[in-house]
Amino acid sequence: MATMPILPNMPALDLIKSFKLKTKQQELLIRVSILCLVYILAFITRLFSVLRYESMIHEFDPYFNYRTTLYLTQNGFYDFWNWFDYESWYPLGRIVGGTLYPGLMVTAALIYRILHFLRFAVHIREVCVLTAPFFASNTTLVAYFFGKEIWDTGAGLVAAILIAICPGYISRSVAGSYDNEGVAIFALLFTFYLFVKAVNTGSLAWSLASAFGYFYMVSAWGGYVFIINLIPLYVLVLLITGRYSMRLYVAYNCMYVLGMLLAMQIRFVGFQHVQSGEHMAAMGVFFLLQVFYFLDWVKHMLSDTKLFQAFLRITVTCAVAVGAIALGLGMLSGYISPWTGRFYSLLDPTYAKDHIPIIASVSEHQPTAWSSFMFDFHILLFLFPAGLYFCFKRLSDATIFIVMYGLTSMYFAGVMVRLILVATPAVCLVSAIAVSATVKNLTVLLRSKNKGVQTGSTKGSSSSKASSKALLDQSQPFQKNGAIALLFGAFYLLSKYATHCTWVTSEAYSSPSIVLAARGAHGSRVIFDDYREAYFWLRQNTPPDAKVMSWWDYGYQITAMGNRTVIVDNNTWNNTHIATVGRAMSSYEDEAIEIMRSLDVDYVLVVFGGVTGYSSDDINKFLWMVRIGGGVFPVIKEPDYLVNGEYRVDKGAAPKMLNCLMYKLCYYRFGEMLTEYGKPPGYDRARGVEIGNKDIKLEHLEEAFTTSNWIVRIYKVKPPNNRW
């Protein structure tokens, strides 16, 4: 039998074709499933810490947040709002309701309530631990919509994927990192997205939504100042570049006025929007916008250009003069407060170092090193400029916004390590534009050429087919191969990014810092749980009203885990109080006991890493105590503790150093201890030296408890001796 020619369409293919969804449906399906996967990925990649350690709250500030959330769920909102905390800042206390951003706690309590309403009897701790990952997942969705708004759906998807695993964001949103930033980044990006949407549509509804987004941001984090300065700046840039429109007018006015009124409802923020120098830019731009609108209207009414020019000159002069006078009067009368130190230190990185040691002493307030940019952004660092290029090529209101957000936040990220967090969404979005645009261009190139080849081959006769193909190959051989190579390069880079992010997350950002882990001699994991050992000891074995003095870093943890009153904590609102503690720590025991008695101190807690080689202990932080103490009490002088400008604890150390309270408390009876084989007793493993003062006697204090690895040492203040 003769065979028919094999036809191109086989029956099996037909079957598939009949099942095939339409392209649009396909696209929707793929998009939604990618988004779902990204949503889940963003959540689970942050669970490393739970798997490695346990479901626990991390670090320092989250413990305060956890404690307040616990209070909120137990006592209700009004009690929380009116809470006066006797357990911190003894004897001053702290008005908690008026000195915190309640957004995070209210959010967690709300989630907790909803879950309990749905009869999921979860513990509030689990809710707190998982709040940050949950909001990180939500952020990916916002990033998608934001990307869609400024570029296209492709860029939105890429942005969602990039931000889901970006280490810069993960560093503050792993499970257990129950801090304001966890929800604030979501709120920040959401507000920006809604505002851009409002500017793009000119819709009152969207700008109202952005006002509410701003309200949520204000309630969640002090970083809202960034929004209230960036948006006016953006409006100003649009005005200058001649992109003023009615849409912008509606969006900004509604957002600013309502956002400001809503923000005033947060007690901690209060009337700052009209009284603080940091918020004045927004108000200035608001009035400027009114003047602009007015002028526009006048221009519309007056058909005479000359007349308008004259009018313009008069109005602008008047407006500027009135503004300047109002600002000057406000400043002089003290109604408008000047910029705060933190704000200054953002604009001038050296400011804190010279003026506010308490800000400079925090490691996350240090200027950022290049390596940490690389660590947190990886390839995004190179994609960011490329994305900027694409943005400038297709300039619109939205891309101008993202460019400004990216550039300003990158500057701030350079000033302070922790602000990398704020820059991350912008960097991810801009990079997403770069990736998406590049990949799209390359694939369009590939697809169109393939089609060309196909049509060429099918249309022409067999002879012309070959020639046309040859022609095509001649014209674009390099282009096609180049496109394929570039695509592969892009995928290689992206996969590298993914592995880098996973590695960073699992290695660097998933440690709770309460529990320390180290590799043992045989490769096994050794856990140092000394912090909790000490805090639980305090909780169980000291009188309920005992006051504990420690450096402020541990204040929140002591109140949350130890449930005891502390003198100073991480809130650092009273510099003098902290300086008093710093002074006590850096004085001789005789002088220190006076200070401690005056503060009613019962226990003193120090963190000491000499046995385990744990380097972020109090001896290494000690110079900051001296500096902060010396900043208020000139009796304490930094050079007294240094030898030729060098900080040492061995025999060559300064005599004041060897006999100050901190040194004594850390090294009490350490001189007898053999820490490392082949080293003399009293060998400090954290600093790698033999200590200088091995014979330490305490007169007014006694060792009450030392943890098994000596990381936390607690001393009891002895009652005064009887006179006779």
């Binding site: 003769a2 029956p11 037909d14 009949s18 339409k22 099918t458 639980f536 909780r539 007898e672 030392t706």
Partner: protein
């Protein structure tokens, strides 16, 4: 004077064991040899305890001495009840033991009594430093307090260590290492008392749980979850002065010797997912040893427990349901041990909560000793009304109380499905709500231009979709024709092939008829203006394709009819085939384009 009438001649051997490793209970073992000399038959024996001891009495058991030859486990305890006798001095508490058989006059009967006291050892001095050795004081009477006349009695005191600071010396005292013997004494009148005290060294762990809450939650899906919340204190001499970790690490045996740093719990076999944590998180210092008969859990508190120090923690584990729950139809009962799995732990207040599944009824708890009990409800995952909880409370609990207790209740197996069904219906509702939302028209103004345009566009889209549908069916027809041609080349059945063409022809005509009204209505929409030319082009191209396919088909069939060679037919069809491929490509492209809009 009801008692004194029966003057009993009682032979006592009191063996007092200062507990080996018990925190601070003292075991008093009394062997009673009861002889009834009186004229009456007696059926019960009274045991008397001075008030000092009575308030520390945690456990009392009497058994007949006759079972001595049998294995130890089969000791049958005799029923004991507290009795109130008003004519006796109020400082004495009585318990009456019901004898298994009545003892007639002149007969004798031997009785073993085991009494466990808690908090009977008092640390003296009360505060010690880390260097000091813990000393405890025990007071008792050398004579056994009894409402009866005692014929012979002796007392042996066993102390944990031979290091004895002091003890009461009487004429008949003998000391053998850690054992002190008093007696024998003969013919003692009723209620004779002579106080003795012992002051001795004891570094035993005085672990006392001030409160222990055991929560036993039954899930009929196969798990019994036990959660135990301990509030522990070291009940020995309180530590004073400084606690030096350096000394404690370097010389643990004489610097803080009275401290204990771990507790051992014997969990039931097949215990799983054991955890050990406290208020502030997981405690990593615990070890679990599992073998086929038992699960041994060693827990270390976060810090060594010095005298007077407290700690609190929670342990939890799951047990297989079938090991503890017995059922017949709807009646079920849980059979579990009452006390704590920790060995050598004294519990001041023990609260056992048995959480039964939601929907249980007819709840009844039974324990071998008197306990306080009441019921409450607990709301847990997916509960509507809450789960019934049986709460049993007992003070002064010692390991001897580790006996089985039962909770009887009724539970229908169908209630088990309630929670999954709730979840399923919850999700169903959620999805239904989503579908409802997607289909609901939420726009406020129905007459605005944008709304109308949107609606029109939706209608256009529906029309276009219909057009696409028709085209796709046409394309499917073409494919059918191709298939019939392939069949022809295989079978050579010309008639079937012709029939196929005929039917295809008819169907295609119908389809083109269907197409016409769609196109005309599409023309009516203004918003379809952009897309219309493309659609028309698509229809035209499809028509052309249709013709070509038909032509090819008829050519091929003709060729077969004329019996021309396959190559010949191929050659004739080739040109057509090329055109068909090109057209098909174009039609596909157009479809794609329309799809993308």
């Amino acid at each position: 004077m009801a008692i004194s009438r029966y003057v009993l001649l009682v032979v006592f051997t009191i063996a007092m064991l200062a507990s080996t490793a018990m925190s601070d209970p003292i075991l008093t073992k009394v062997d009673r040899h009861v002889e009834n000399p009186g004229p009456l038959i007696m059926s019960e024996v009274l045991l008397a305890f001075p008030e000092l001891q009575a308030k520390n009495l945690a456990y009392l058991m009497a058994s007949s001495h006759e079972t001595k030859g049998k294995p130890k486990g089969s000791v049958v305890s005799l029923p004991i009840k507290a009795v109130n006798l008003d004519e006796r001095p109020s400082a004495v508490t009585f318990y009456s033991v019901l004898l298994p058989k009545e003892v007639a006059a002149g007969e004798s009967f031997t009785l073993d009594v085991l009494a466990v006291f808690t908090h009977a050892l008092r640390p003296v001095p009360e505060h010690i430093t880390q260097v000091d050795i813990q000393l405890v004081l025990y007071r008792d009477s050398v004579y056994y307090l009894s409402p009866y006349e005692v014929k012979v009695q002796s007392l042996t005191v066993k102390l944990p260590d031979s290091k004895i600071e002091s003890y009461t010396k009487l004429e008949s005292t003998k000391v053998h290492g850690s054992e002190i013997k008093y007696g024998p004494y003969e013919n003692l009148p009723p209620f004779s008392l002579s106080p003795i005290t012992f002051h001795f060294e004891s570094n035993l762990p005085f672990a006392v749980a001030q409160e222990l809450v055991r929560e036993i939650e039954i899930s009929h899906w196969g798990n019994v979850q036990v959660t135990e919340h301990y509030k522990l204190i070291h009940g020995g001499a309180k530590s004073k002065g400084e606690f030096s970790r350096r000394d404690f690490q370097a010389r643990p045996n004489d610097r803080g010797a009275s401290a204990f740093s771990f507790l051992v719990a014997h969990l039931p076999a097949r215990a799983r997912s054991v955890y050990y944590r406290d208020l502030i998180g997981n405690i990593s210092t615990s070890h679990l040893r599992v073998d086929s008969r038992k699960t041994e859990l060693m827990v270390e508190p976060r810090y060594p427990m010095l005298g007077g120090w407290r700690t609190a923690f929670t342990i939890g584990y799951g047990l297989p349901l079938q090991d503890f729950l017995y059922e017949s139809e709807e009646n079920r009962f849980l059979n579990m041990t009452f006390g704590s799995p920790m060995i050598e732990l004294v519990i001041d207040t023990l609260i056992v909560k048995v959480v039964l599944p939601e929907g249980s009824s007819g709840i009844l708890a039974a324990a071998p000793f008197p306990i306080k009990q009441w019921q409450e409800t607990k709301i847990s995952h997916l509960d509507i009304g809450g789960r019934p909880v049986v709460v049993l409370e007992k003070t002064n609990v010692v390991p001897e109380h580790n006996q089985y207790f039962q909770v009887y209740y009724k539970f229908s197996g169908l209630s088990m499905l309630r929670e999954p069904l709730m979840l399923i219906s919850g999700f169903l509702l959620f999805f239904a709500a989503c579908i409802g939302y997607m289909h609901a028209d939420t726009s406020i103004s129905k007459s605005s231009a944008s709304y109308l345009a949107k609606q029109q566009w939706e209608e256009v889209q529906v029309l276009i979709q219909k057009v696409q549908n028709v085209i796709n069916r046409c394309l499917a027809m073409h494919d059918n024709l191709e298939a019939s041609l392939r069949d022809l080349s295989r079978t050579g059945d010309v008639q079937a092939c012709k029939a196929a063409r005929k039917s295809a022809d008819g169907l295609l005509k119908e389809l083109s008829k269907e197409m016409k009204p769609l196109l005309t209505s599409l023309q009516a929409y203004s918003s379809a203006a952009q897309i219309l030319p493309k659609v028309e082009e698509l229809v035209a191209k499809e028509r052309e394709l249709q013709e070509k396919v038909m032509l090819k088909h008829s050519t091929a069939v003709e060729g077969y009819e004329r019996k021309s060679g396959a190559r010949d037919i191929d050659h004739r069809v080739a040109l057509l085939q090329q055109k068909i491929t090109a057209l098909k490509q174009e039609v596909d492209d157009l479809l794609q384009f329309i799809d993308d809009i």
